[in-house]
Subunit: 165 residues, 2 copies
Amino acid sequence: MTSQVSPTQDDGVPAQPRWLDAEEQRAWRAWLYSTTLLEDRLERDLTHSAGVSSAYYEILVQLSEAPERRMRMSQLADRCLASRSRLSHAVSRLEERGWVAREVCVEDGRGQLAVLTDEGMSALQQAAPVHVASVRTHLFDQLSPTQVAAMRDIGETLLRHLDPR
Amino acid sequence: MTSQVSPTQDDGVPAQPRWLDAEEQRAWRAWLYSTTLLEDRLERDLTHSAGVSSAYYEILVQLSEAPERRMRMSQLADRCLASRSRLSHAVSRLEERGWVAREVCVEDGRGQLAVLTDEGMSALQQAAPVHVASVRTHLFDQLSPTQVAAMRDIGETLLRHLDPR
């Protein structure tokens, strides 16, 4: 992303877009770098404390909040913003640890459920306070209430476009 | 991340943190989901148009803006917020495409430079307009000027904490 690269004018090249102006450039870079560094930091803290990545952690969280700690694989993929194949791979890794189990869905005999085991719940309970402390230290402790409100407003505005369910 | 998981009270478990309140939870979820979906969308558009991921694209951008289109590998890693090993791997992949070359640094005979080739510059010039259009469509076109200013303010505030260089 840069304003200093000009597109070539050959045939077949997309028409020149409206390049980002100076204010947009600064906003874009600030967003890009801060989200990258924040994600890296939270991931590092989570891996250190829980031994799992944030994607795996989110699976445990979603299952812990579901009725009877179980959810259809397809719904779990939606909730975790993951593809079916990526979720299936992650659940297999969590099964190896004994944190998640798979069951056939009894309601219709088709489809699979993912279930959070007692061991998985225990692992989540160990990791959660460390993760919350990390989010507080590196995000909320840095921002004013006005900035937190703006962050939510921007996030929800983008979600209406990106995920209009 | 959830307020509904309580930590166990066994010895050795970190002290209970201040859990996120309802407003913080909503802000956190909105940020987490919107950044995940935005990154996925930009990545998909970039891979489709340029055949490279955003991490590789950033390497091309940084080199294109450097004097003589070359930069020390260590400096390039810093600029791309990448570890040395991850950057080295990415540069190797870009070398295979003929988009980047490595040179020994003539100034001190130690260290390596990464150089953007003419082919790499051409690839960047093809990809840049598509990428800018994608960023505009999925980010800036969705936000008011006030929201863009707030996004920059929040990002710069977080950067002062996360990357206090």
